[in-house]
């Protein structure tokens, strides 16, 4: 069900990508479909990305949120740099993937990641929180 507020709000723009050589793409494809089904705009950057390529695309495309699908441990290497680069342009970062444990989630949030979704995450939870992150970012942008 779409509320009136949702219907008149600009579409949430989300960039979906994967780090480095992590190639298990099934979840990234599924999440991109979930977001599109919910009316969001998805920029599917896909596999083989680095913090610089992701941040560059995020800035060019003026996205509201960056979502990284993680199915290898490479995120541990790339997250700090990506948090730093996205911080400069004020875009929140969310991570999802079965390799992300609850301990990881705590550490990643402490390191500046906005949301962390392990494999039990509910679709409704993801959609609601992405919308919240997007409107928070837009509110901040307007103040600038």
């Amino acid at each position: 069900m779409t509320t009136l507020a949702e219907a008149v709000a600009p579409r949430v723009r989300v960039l979906i990508a994967m780090f480095g050589l992590d190639q298990h793409e099934t979840a990234a494809v599924a999440v991109a479909a979930l977001l599109r089904d919910a009316g969001m705009e998805v920029l599917y950057l896909g596999r083989f990305q680095t913090p610089s390529s992701i941040a560059l695309a995020a800035a060019h495309e003026d996205v509201d949120v960056v979502g990284i699908s993680c199915h290898s441990w490479e995120y541990r290497h790339y997250v700090p740099e990506l948090v730093e680069r996205l911080g400069r342009i004020g875009v929140p970062l969310v991570l999802g993937g079965s390799v992300l444990t609850t301990t990881d989630a705590d550490e990643l949030r402490a390191a500046g990641v906005a949301r962390v979704y392990g494999s039990g995450a509910r679709d409704t939870e993801i959609l609601t929180e992405l919308r919240e992150l997007a409107s928070a970012r837009r509110a901040k942008e307007e103040l600038r």
């Binding site: 780090f19 050589l21 599924a30 596999r47 079965s98 390799v99």
Partner: protein
């Protein structure tokens, strides 16, 4: 199939001799052997490979000590993608999801001390490269290569779309597949150089029919090309095998294996003219589904693995690997390996399932299901082939679209709860209670950082002129479509070329960039400038 929850004799239209036959006889629906493998049953093995080749070798020895009959080696993500361990993108991934292999000496260390003439080594490694390295290592040791067993997965059509992209052009991938099969047929006649891997193409969400249709489309595409080169069908077909998936729907999976054997037999005999019964009888191995396993309540995955393994034992597969309880988090830990291997051993030694062949044959239900799935697979193969040549379909993204649609379909079913997954969308536990085996499942290994340093040191000390000459020759051969790539590929490996270099110069031979990630330059860059 009817809405009744049971089948009657009239639901099954079967002629025993025509559609089933005894085990070991055409159309091999009931299996390829008359006697099976006695009490030792199928080849029991587990997916392995971690860190350096030396560390993986120790892991292999441990598995053999625990009673594994065979090995199943997988490369880490850089190796699978033909990216060397010292590439800038490789560092965070080296050795953490498989073994890191960049040069011939790595393969030598991997196989060190293993009885290659006795044990079968299955390889999930980039096709032609794995075959070349295995052959060179065995030949160096003075082994009789005609006795070498083992196998290698080839997926020229699907590898780029299903987690193991090599960034080689499709035509080159197909050429390497055909060249390496021809090479192995001549030099390692007992080695299965063409395992059609329907596991990894389907574990993103393809169903059993889509899985086997895709598999047969690829088998047929490769076989037609080998025949067009003048190879006799009975020279290579006995060494074709299939590595299939097994999900939770156990009767469907059993029926799928039986249907696959019947389709394979009729296709080989009637369409491709195979006369040797070994060419007609499909060799089927299984890797149980990782997609069906959950991060929640990891101990439940042990139960899933056991059910899937029992199904495949009843289906009469030749070899098996069970996806382990820590699948959601990592490639198997030693603890997970042991549980999976013990699961196979319990089935083989305690249940009696290995004492009888095709125990479900003749069941109205199983036979109706087998015929139904067979018809659907055949129909889908025909529809795909009517759409176009498989290699062109791949280049147009046809398969990728089906694979993506399947991933979306699966995710929607799980989210909607129409596909029950215990512990995930039904009978979930709060995280604080979900502790059984959690610590073991979530344990991590650090990337093998010293691998990059070792490789850099090796690059400085090798015979540069010999490497450059060999790479130059490989690049030239790649640019000439009629040349057999195996001799220059073997020579370049032997000269000290790395997998990344070999792949890179072949890309150059096809007019593409040396490094798909544009981070390292070709060792032949000086030639290009000249």
């Amino acid at each position: 199939m009817s809405e009744r929850r049971f089948q009657r004799a009239e639901d099954v239209e079967l002629d025993y001799g025509r559609d089933l036959g005894d085990p070991g006889s055409f159309p091999f629906t009931r299996g390829r052997h008359v006697s099976g493998r006695s009490a030792s049953s199928w080849i029991q093995r587990e997916l392995s490979g971690i860190g350096s080749p030396q560390e993986s070798n120790r892991q292999f020895c441990q598995l053999i000590a625990h009673g594994a009959h065979g090995l199943d080696v997988i490369g880490d993500t850089p190796t699978m993608g033909l990216v060397d361990a010292d590439h800038p993108l490789a560092a965070p991934a080296v050795g953490s999801s498989g073994v890191s292999l960049s040069r011939l000496a790595d393969f030598r260390a991997l196989y060190d001390g293993l009885p290659l003439e006795e044990i079968s080594v299955s390889h999930s490694l980039p096709g032609a490269f794995g075959i070349a390295a295995y052959y060179l290592c065995a030949a160096e040791r003075g082994l009789d290569c005609s006795k070498l067993r083992g196998s290698l997965l080839q997926a020229p059509l699907y590898t780029e779309d299903c987690a193991y992209a090599t960034h080689l052009p499709a035509a080159l991938r197909m050429r390497l597949t055909c060249d390496s099969i021809a090479f192995a047929t001549a030099r390692m006649p007992r080695y299965h150089s063409f395992i059609e891997d329907t596991y990894f193409i389907s574990d993103g969400g393809l169903d059993a029919v889509e899985e086997m249709a895709f598999g047969f489309v690829e088998v047929r595409a490769v076989v037609r090309r080998l025949l067009a080169r003048g190879l006799a069908i009975d020279s290579f077909a006995p060494r074709i095998g299939l590595l299939v998936n097994c999900r939770m729907s156990l009767f469907e999976e059993i029926a799928k294996v039986r249907a696959t054997r019947r389709i394979f037999a009729r296709m080989m005999r009637d369409e491709f003219g195979a006369r040797d019964p070994r060419s007609q009888s499909a060799i089927v191995a299984v890797h149980t589904s990782g997609l069906t396993l959950t991060a929640q309540q990891p101990a439940n995955n042990i139960v899933r693995g056991a059910v899937q393994a029992l199904a495949m034992a009843m289906a009469g597969v030749q070899a098996m690997e069970i996806s382990t309880f820590d699948e959601a988090f990592r490639t198997p830990s030693p603890e997970a390996h042991l549980v999976a291997l013990r699961t196979q051993q319990i089935l083989a030694l305690e249940t009696g399932v290995a004492d009888v062949i095709d125990p479900l044959g003749g069941s109205y239900y199983i036979e109706a299901l087998t015929s139904g799935i067979e018809a659907k697979i055949l129909d889908m193969i025909a529809r795909i082939e009517a759409t176009g040549d498989a290699l062109e379909l791949e280049e147009r993204g046809y398969f990728r679209r089906v694979i993506d649609a399947a991933a979306r379909r699966y995710a929607r079913e799980v989210a909607a709860g129409t596909r029950p997954v215990v512990g995930l969308n039904v009978h979930a536990l709060p995280p604080e209670q979900d502790t059984l085996l959690r610590a073991a499942a979530e344990r991590r290994d650090e990337p093998s950082c010293q691998r990059a340093d070792e490789l850099r040191a090796f690059r400085r000390t090798r015979d540069q002129r010999r490497v450059a000459d060999a790479l130059r020759e490989l690049r030239r051969a790649a640019g000439e479509p009629d040349r057999d790539l195996m001799p220059p590929l073997c020579a370049a490996l032997d000269a000290g070329g790395t997998l990344g270099e070999l792949a890179g110069v072949m890309r150059e031979g096809y007019g593409q960039e040396y490094d798909p990630f544009r981070q390292v330059t070709s060792p032949l860059a000086a030639d290009n400038a000249a």
